[in-house]
Structure formats: C-alpha cells, structure tokens
C-alpha cells in the first residue's frame, strides 16, 4: 500500500545466546517497522523466548546489537528496556492481583499530592486510560476481580502507556476465547495504526494470517527468513517453520518402502481419545517399524503419546496390546507392558539434572524392578558403561552430573535409560529438539538401528525431513485431531507439509 516503507523502529542484528551445550540463538536478525504487527514464529526450541528475553533485557546477550530508532541500546533488565521503549506482555499475566487496577497501571509512578499518592486522581486517570483501550471498568477495584482477558488488556495498556515504541506479546491468545481474541485484535490494529511496532508470538496460524503484516520465522536458534504475510502462502510458511531447507539432514535418504512387517501389530490404538485433550485417533505399532507423528505445535501430536503411555487416561476408544484390550491408568502400567517414553522437554520431564549419568540411566530399569530389588552398584556400573559405549555418549566417566552434558548427549542418556529396560515399544517426543544440528543425524541413525533390531518405535517430531526419512507410516495431526495417515511411497516431506497445512475452515482461537 505505502510506496516508501515505514521507518524501522527496532533493528536487532546477529543476536546470539549460548547455553551450556546448545546455542539457543545464533546470529538472529529482527527488524520491526513503525505501524506493523510482526509475527515471530517457530516451533518449540526455535529460539523465540530467548530472542524476547534478549530484547527485554531479561537475559544478557552473548553477541549482536539492538538499536531503537537508530540508537544502540543495551538493556540490563526490564527497567532498561522499558526506558528504551520496549515493553513485553506475557501469556502469564505479570501484574499484581493484590493491588487495584489503577495501582497496577501506575506502580512506581503514581500521581502524588503533598507527597502522598493522589488516589482519586490515579483511579480517574487509570479509568480514562483503560477507556482508550476499550475497557470501561472501575480502576479502583482489585485486579483479581477481573478475568484473564481483561487483565491482559490492562497489562497491554500499562505497557503501551509506559513505553510506546515496541510492544512484544508472547502467546497473548493462548488462554482467551474467540470473542476475547477478537477484542484483542481490534485493539492491536488500533495500536498499529498509531505507529506502534508490535511483535506477536503465537502458534495459531489462522491468527497470524488474520492479524499480522510481516513474519519472521526462527528454527533451531537460527533465522529462517522474514516475509510479508500477504506474500507467504500457508504451505510455504509451514515449510519454513518445519525446515524443508536443505541443511545438515539433507543427506537423509528414505529407505525402500514395503518394510512394514506382516502380522498383527504389537500395539493398536482404535479411536483412542480424551475429551479436551485430543480427538479419537488410530495407530498401529509393529515390531521393527517406525510410526512417525507430524504436526505443528499444539496440533495434539504430544497428546497422542501421553495417551499411549498412560500419562493421561483415555475416555474413548481402546488400546490393544498383543491383541488384548488394556487400560493404562498410569505410566507404571505402560512400563509393565514394556513401553518406554522419552518426553519432549528433557529438562522438565526427563533428566534428573543433579544426578550422575549412571543414576539417570538406571532409573527406569530400577523403577520397573521395584525398589526392593535394588540393582547392585556393580550392575549399575556395568549397565551405564555399556550404554555410554553403545550410544557413544561423550563424557569422561559415568559419574559426571548429567546437566553438564550437551543436549545431544543428554538425549542419548535418556534413550539409554529406556533401552536398559529393553522396551518393546519406545515412544520418542522430539528426540532431536534442542540438539545442535550436527548431532541430529546421529540420533536418527540410532533410531534406525533400534528399529532394525525389532523394536516398535513411535516418533513425534517437527523435523519433517527426518520423519519422512525414518518412518514407515506417518500420522499427521492438526487441531488436536488426526488429519491423515501416509504410508509407503506417499511419505515425502512435501506430502507431510501438505497434510499439515491443508486448508480448513478457520477455527479462530481455542
């Protein structure tokens, strides 16, 4: 529409942030222009949160520059970023529920009279400020009186009133219903038209297309690209997010089709589902075969694993193991049946950071045996050393705390934990997440090796190329329900992306 592009408000160049074992952000650029809503997209672990933390000064950066209106800034905390004109509103509302709405709006800069807080003026001005943001509420009431949606609008009002150049919204619609999302969008469009640069982080693609002007996609801590929303078809966007660009895994080649062993599957899910978690899906897991699961963040892909491993209990459909119907009430039931599960968030659900590699490896086997049949120290050492060698876990010895290993080696240790129990079915959620790209191929090779040794594998991944390479079947999830099943030669990265992005009626939020 405009001939000359609007002025650049914020320019971040080459932002880098190193964590132990993984480079969370690697030379990422971000350009924000006045009067635009800019979507920041990427799968989990892409580096979105890290980028936001660097912009708001919540974390120091290891490299790169940030300029606001051409002036280099170096925020050393939320206060510094706010002074520079950058404010963030998070999905979790970081206001104080024990204070009044007006106190929240003006905390630290309350209007005063004779040295005392001018309460009536503060409430009046707070009310007026909120009315400009479309909220007609009594600002003297406690914040906790209001719904999450209203609190979020209050947080935005505070942020814009404090520093009105760049507004970062991290998953603002995650806990809003459809009407509330529309209210928020209306407000954001008004703010955009006033010249604010807005960063909008979400995993709802419909919302990206409904609201934003420009898109920056991150993947594995790197910048994939910046596009105008109008020029980027949904299919291409999904491809950017899931990484179809030839990188380290481009050498992966698909093995010959028709490898699915004959005979009854080891585990069969028939219409398995749970209300408000994931819609009914079918899955057949054969010994010596890989079932891949693909889909975007929030598509329900992880939830299928939670049902198969008994973390959540299904309320519909049935699960057959060796042809017999079983009910999984807890992961213990699943472990007893010979299942193993490497969860998505290693740090949160997987490794026990303070324990040694050896202790982490023997954990699942010990739990399976029961705590009264303790593995002797000699057995533990033998087991740990065997898997460290087998999986090529790079560590000087088995007694090193696991948190000191790199992401890839932590993942291998987790894998070792389950391999030690000699599972019949191994479920892996994002086995290559947060691992330096070079180590991806190694993990993939390991999976193929396990498959060839007759294990049934269920692998959930947002690495489309990898899924396409090692899967015998691919279950595609979308909007918390199955969206297709690909088999044999029809499994190609393009076909998977197509199935994920296939146009469907707009569902708004939820």
């Amino acid at each position: 529409m405009a001939v000359t592009p609007p002025p650049v408000v914020l320019a971040a160049r080459g932002l880098t942030r190193q964590y132990p074992g993984v480079r969370a952000l690697d030379g990422v650029d971000l350009t924000l222009r006045a009067g635009e809503i800019h979507a920041l997209l990427g799968e989990n672990g892409a580096g979105k949160s890290t980028l936001i933390n660097l912009l708001t000064g919540a974390q120091p950066r290891d490299g790169g520059t940030i300029t606001v209106d051409g002036v280099a800034i170096d925020p050393d905390g939320p206060g510094g970023a706010v002074k520079a004109g950058i404010a963030a509103v998070y999905q979790e509302i970081t206001l104080l529920p024990n204070l009044s709405v007006a106190q929240n709006l003006y905390l630290g800069r309350e209007p005063t009279r004779w040295g005392l807080v001018h309460r009536s003026r503060m409430n009046r001005e707070g009310g007026a400020l909120l009315r400009r943001f479309g909220l007609a509420i009594d600002a003297s009431r406690p914040l906790s009186d209001f719904s999450t949606a209203v609190q979020q609008l209050i947080a935005i009002a505070r942020a814009v009133d404090l520093s009105a150049k760049v507004l970062i919204l991290d998953e603002p619609t995650a806990s809003l219903d459809t009407a509330e999302v529309q209210t928020l969008f209306t407000l954001l469009r008004v703010l955009r038209d006033q010249g604010l640069a807005i960063v909008f982080v979400t995993h709802f693609l419909d919302q990206v297309y409904a609201l934003t002007d420009r898109i920056t996609v991150l993947r594995n801590g790197r910048l994939v690209g910046e596009r105008r929303t109008a020029d980027l078809p949904r299919l291409d966007l999904v491809a950017m997010m899931l990484g179809k660009t030839p990188t380290a895994e481009s050498h992966l080649s698909r093995r010959p089709a028709a490898a699915i062993p004959a005979g009854a599957p080891l585990v069969r899910a028939e219409g398995l589902g749970r209300r408000r978690l994931v819609g009914a899906f079918d899955a057949a897991l054969h010994a010596g075969a890989v079932l891949g699961a693909a889909g975007l963040l929030g598509s329900g892909r992880t939830e299928t694993a939670l049902l198969l491993f008994g973390v959540e209990t299904a309320d519909q459909g049935q699960l057959l193991v060796d042809g017999k119907a079983v009910t999984l009430r807890s992961p213990r039931d699943a472990i007893r049946l010979g299942f193993g599960f490497c969860p998505e968030d290693r740090k949160l659900d997987g490794i026990v950071a303070g324990l040694s590699i050896r202790e982490n490896i023997v954990l699942a086997l010990q739990a399976k045996r029961g705590w009264w049949r303790r593995l002797s120290t000699a057995q533990q050492h033998e087991l740990a050393d065997r898997y460290i060698k087998l999986l090529d876990i790079r560590t000087p010895d088995a007694e090193k705390p696991i948190q000191l290993l790199s992401g890839g080696n932590q993942q291998k240790a987790l894998l070792a934990r389950w391999l030690a129990t000699e599972p019949r079915l191994l479920i892996l959620d994002e086995p290559t997440r947060g691992i330096d790209v070079g180590a991806h191929a190694e993990i993939v090779r390991l999976l193929e090796d396990l498959r060839d040794r007759g294990m049934a594998l269920y692998v959930i991944s947002s690495e489309i190329e990898e899924v396409a390479a090692y899967s015998d079947r691919v279950l595609v999830m979308r909007d918390r329900a199955p969206a297709g099943l690909l088999e044999g030669d029809s499994i190609t990265p393009a076909a998977i992306v197509n199935a994920i992005a296939a146009d469907h009626h707009t569902q708004g939020a939820a």
Partner: protein, 356 residues
C-alpha cells in the same frame, strides 16, 4: 456489596466482629470495663506492643517476617538506661541515638536478607540473638532510671472524661498507627511494599527496586522496635536486657489476627491495632476475673490465632471457588465496550501513547 466483601476486607471485618463480641462479653460481665478508665489503661499497657505491631505489619505485608523486634526493644531499654544513668546524656539525645541505631540495625538486617538472598526468618533470628546478646553484655541487671525529665514524660497524660487518662506513651502509639497507616496506604513506598508482598518477581518485572524496598521495610521495623523500647522504658522507668522476650510473637499474632496475610501483599495497620486491643482486652478480662492464671491469655490468643488462620484459609478457598462469578459482572461488558474502541480511539489517540 462486592466491593466490601472481598479477600482483603473480610478478614478485617472478622477481626472487628470478634473484638466487638469479646468487648460485649467483658462489658456484660464487668460493666466497669466499659469505662474510659479501663480503655485508657489498655492503651497505655499495650503501647509498646502496638508500636511493634505497626513495624511488623509493614514487614509482613512485604512478605517477610522479623523475629528480632523483641530483642531490639530490650537492647533499646538497657542502652537508654546506660546512656542516661551512666553517661548522663539528656533523654532527648539518648532517644535520638537509640532510634538512629535501631534504623541502622534494621538496614543491616534488610541488606543481609536481600544481598545474601537468605530467608528473613533465619536472618532475623540471627539478629535476635545478636541484639539480645548485646543487651546482656551492657548489663544483666535491671537499671532504674532516675531523671526528672523522664518522670515528667512518663506522667504526662490527658485526662479523659470519667477519670480515664490518655498517657503520652498511649498517644505515641496512636500516632504511630496513624503514621504507619499513611505510610502503608498513602505513599508510593507503601504501594511498593504491597507489590513486593504480592509477588516479588512480578514487582521486579514492573520496574520496582525490590532490594531497596526490602531494606527500607526492615529499617522501618527496627526503628519501630527502638521506639517501642523508648516507650517501654518510659512505662517502667528502667532498662532491662531481658525486656520483651517473646513479644515479637505477640506482635506477629496481633498482625495475623488483624487480617494481614502471612503470605504477604494483603493487610493493613488498622487490623493490627484491633489485634493488639483484643490481646489487651483478654488480659484485662482475666485480671478482672482474678481467679484465672494470666497464662490463660496465651491460651486464648493461641485459640484465636488458630481461628483466624482457619478463617483466612476458608476465605481464600471460597474466593478461589466463587471468584470467577465475582469477575462475571465485569467481564461481559468488556467486549461490548471494546467494539466501540475503534471509533473512539483515533480521536483520543493523540493523547494516548506518546513516545519518550
């Protein structure tokens, strides 16, 4: 209705109801307790506790605790006695000195809590031993204070109708509550204290200097403890190192009974005032009774505390369960309001988000 029946005011309301009930029982049994004479004495006898409770309220609202106030009070009385009796300082100078020392002591306590990231419980426990030890080092005996100015101050009082007397120390206590109320509810500092107690991390994200606030809060609390020591030494006209053993717990009890949540962020000094009065009233009633051991006060306070903690818990649970419905009236009108936003916004827009 909704405005007054929320988690913030309900505990205070419960405290007022309990106070009125106890007062009614007392008055029914001993009509003499109704008079201003008894009320005047009540204020005088509990002046030091009231002043401690003001400081404690601020600390607890900020989400902390201070176990050192009793020891600081004891240290103050014995230091005063030594300064006036031993060194011959005029009382006014001695007062200024101990107040300054109290403030400094609290600054150190607050700094230790903030910079060492240590729990307030442990740091103030350490401070308690430190202060009590220093007090006993000065003197293990009670030191009487013989000073004309002191006697005048101690005896100074307003005569109330009905033969009651509002002594100077009682007046100081009332003024302290007034000042504490203004500080906590009327100043920017007070808002920061509530913010810190509500959620320290969020407060920091909102740009509050939480370290400075923590230090100031403890400085204020110890200052109040020193003031309580002055008041107590006027009341007894002596200084004794073991003065105020355990009163930090009485002060905490008064604060909790007054409706201030130990988790921080909610409360105020008005409730603490009533909490002090309730404790004093129970003691007075037991004195009137004459047959009961005064230790029954402790039992009654214990029972009351338990009652209040249970009530606060119930209110929190209830508000968590019905709180959504409380938000109901506000939420529905927002989408309608919001639809009018685009129309009204551009016109007022120029005034809204001005940069800089």
């Amino acid at each position: 209705m909704g405005r007054f029946m929320n988690t913030r005011t309900l505990p205070l309301l419960a405290t007022v109801v309990v106070f009125v009930l106890i007062y009614a029982v007392c008055a029914a049994q001993y009509p003499a307790m109704l008079g201003l004479r008894v009320m005047g004495n009540l204020l005088t006898d509990n002046a030091f506790l009231g002043i401690l409770a003001v400081g404690m309220t601020v600390v607890v609202v900020a989400g902390g605790i201070d176990l050192s106030v009793g020891a600081v009070m004891g240290l103050t009385t014995v230091a005063l006695a030594r300064l006036i009796e031993g060194a011959g300082l005029p009382p006014a100078l001695a007062f200024a000195l101990v107040l300054a020392l109290g403030g400094l002591f609290g600054t150190g306590v607050g700094a230790a809590i903030h910079y060492l990231k240590a729990p307030a419980f442990i740091v103030t426990l350490t401070a308690m031993f430190l202060a009590r030890g220093c007090a006993l080092l000065i003197s293990t005996d009670s030191i009487p204070i013989h000073n004309a100015a002191y006697d005048t101050l101690a005896a100074a009082a307003l005569t109330l109708p009905g033969g009651g007397r509002l002594t100077l120390v009682a007046g100081i206590m009332l003024l302290t509550f007034l000042a504490g109320g203004i500080l906590l509810h009327g100043t920017r500092f007070g808002a920061r204290v509530f913010a810190l107690g509500g959620n320290g991390h969020f407060a920091q994200l909102m740009g509050i200097n939480t370290g400075r606030t923590t230090i100031l809060v403890h400085a204020f609390c110890s200052l109040m403890a020193a003031l309580a020591g002055i008041v107590f030494s006027l009341y007894t006209r002596s200084g004794y190192a073991l003065t105020g053993t355990g009163v930090e717990l009485d002060a905490i009890a008064a604060v909790v009974i007054g409706g201030t949540l130990l988790t921080g962020g909610v409360g105020g000094v008005a409730g603490s005032f009533i909490g002090v009065l309730i404790q004093g009233l129970i003691l007075t009633w037991i004195t009137f009774d004459g047959t009961l051991s005064s230790w029954w006060t402790k039992i009654a306070i214990g029972a009351l505390l338990f009652l209040f903690i249970a009530v606060q818990r119930l209110i929190l649970v209830a508000s968590a369960r019905y709180g959504r419905s409380g938000a109901g009236p506000a939420a529905p009108n927002t989408p309608n309001q919001a639809t009018s936003a685009p129309a009204s916004r551009p016109s007022s827009g120029a005034a809204a988000p001005s940069a800089s």
